[in-house]
């Protein structure tokens, strides 16, 4: 990514765009992608908008409970027409219990993705973080399902617009079985996504940047570009192993993970 250190938007414009996108999230309505109106905005601007949304939530008393990577699989990058992964944050009210209900009306056009989550026990600070560093710093991994919901019309965006929109983050469910990374073959770990009892997507860990841990390494390195780190105890979702699947009100889902159990939920 070029222009990560340069702003083309003013601080006022960044704050206005953050409010604009956060309102769309909180009130569940679509907006046009922001690069239509600000074609010159930079990656730095895009991340600054995301971090401003995060600041707004924290100022309101919300807690940040984890991070997520997005667009980390070839399936997802080709589905969305972008060429680089991105990250977002997870706020406390994004969490849904395993087997729980997700209110479809609170969202715009949600899709679900089968993912894995890493929970760390040591800080990771880029640049230069590699898979080995991530595995050493990992306390355990566990299954996770992410609900994504782009605030952009028809789920169509470019990379800068999606970064500003907190990488489409909206809800997540974690559960199943925790496991030590030494006991798993993360590259070949299989996932099977079922909606209403029908298998809709299958995949294996290698779909995420060749190895799930490389997604966490990339996150640490991207955060390092802003002087930020992933502290010990971080919960990090690695991005979708399968393509994202659209869900409707009334749909129930179950994702089965090799050696890690299942996660299920329902859209009401």
């Amino acid at each position: 990514m070029s222009d990560v250190n340069e702003n083309k938007l003013s601080q006022t414009q960044i704050e206005e765009l953050a409010e604009h996108l956060e309102n769309a999230e909180l009130q569940a309505y679509e907006v046009t992608k922001i690069t239509d109106d600000y074609p010159d905005m930079t990656y730095k601007d895009a991340f600054d908008i995301q971090w401003e949304i995060r600041r707004r939530k924290e100022a309101r008393g919300n807690k940040i409970v984890g991070m997520k990577m997005g667009l980390t699989s070839w399936a997802k990058m080709s589905q969305m027409g972008v060429e680089h992964p991105c990250y977002g944050f997870l706020a406390d009210y994004f969490t849904v219990p395993d087997g729980g209900e997700i209110k479809h009306d609170e969202l715009i056009h949600p899709k679900i993705e089968a993912e894995l989550a890493f929970v760390t026990k040591a800080p990771l600070k880029g640049p230069g973080i590699h898979i080995g560093d991530v595995l050493r710093a990992t306390d355990f991994v566990m299954p996770a399902v992410e609900v994504i919901d782009s605030r952009y019309k028809d789920f169509k965006f470019d990379l800068k617009s999606v970064i500003a929109d907190n990488s489409s983050s909206t809800r997540f469910i974690t559960g199943g079985r925790m496991a030590d990374v030494a006991d798993l073959d993360l590259k070949t770990l299989g996932v099977v996504m079922e909606i209403n009892g029908e298998v809709v997507e299958v995949g294996a860990g290698a779909a995420v940047l060749g190895h799930p841990a490389s997604s966490v390494a990339m996150l640490a390195n991207m955060l390092g570009e802003r002087g930020e780190e992933l502290p010990a105890g971080s919960f990090v979702m690695i991005g979708a192993i399968t393509a994202a699947v659209q869900v409707n009100k009334g749909d129930s889902f179950c994702v089965r993970y090799q050696d890690l159990g299942t996660i299920s939920g329902k859209f009401v």
């Binding site: 073959d185 070949t188 299958v202 860990g205 192993i241 089965r256 090799q258």
Partner: protein, 261 residues
Amino acid sequence: MNKEQILLCGDELYEAMTQRHTLRPFTERFTDITIEDAYAISLRMIERRVAAGEKIIGKKIGLTSKAVQNMLKVGQPDFGFLTDAMAYSEGQEMPISEKLMQPKAEGEIAFILKKDLLGPGITNADVLAATDCVLPCFEVVDSRIENWNIKIQDTVADNASCGLFILGDKAVDPRKVDLSTCGMVVEKNGSIISTGAGAAALGSPVNCVTWLANTLGHFGIPLKAGEVILSGSLVPLEPVQAGDFMSVSIGGIGSASVRFV
């Protein structure tokens, strides 16, 4: 189709395979061809191979993915016969440029049986109890029909588009692996090209073998102890050519690799 036409088509397929030329789809030449006719043709083709000295060592199940079934507008898989002439071992070069015409590789799980299975009435529990081990496998399918322009009857007649296959060296007890969730990663010339999981084949590779045992049971044909059963692809088919190198890794089972020449 009458008996003579069936024999003729089986012979044409055998000659197309040995002389390496493709045929017009049977479904264009015989518009009323049934799936039963097609299986009868495949039996003639395999009879010719056995007469030429090949030995039947197992069976393969095809059309196990929903995507392929939808493409061919069918609601069920199909099957073909495996012979010793199709089998290659881990590390061996596979001479596709000499033996095949339009090869495509698919990653699968192979079952080796230790007991006979004779349907009907076979359940998944029977299949697991009769399975000695499972192995990683590349099947390289090929079509004797021009441009892979196949309908269900064409591929059934053509021995389920069977080509060659290679088994990995790692044999695993089926009770040690969840065959429905086990993941698959396929690499070609150093790049990961696809991933999948066991459930891609009819929900589970075990379901596929159970289907085959029950389907063959209607004809009184058992799956036999010692046979190799290829349970169906878990990833999309990949066209291959001489010079390509591929590997498949299956979570909890192992890997197989093949160099095409």
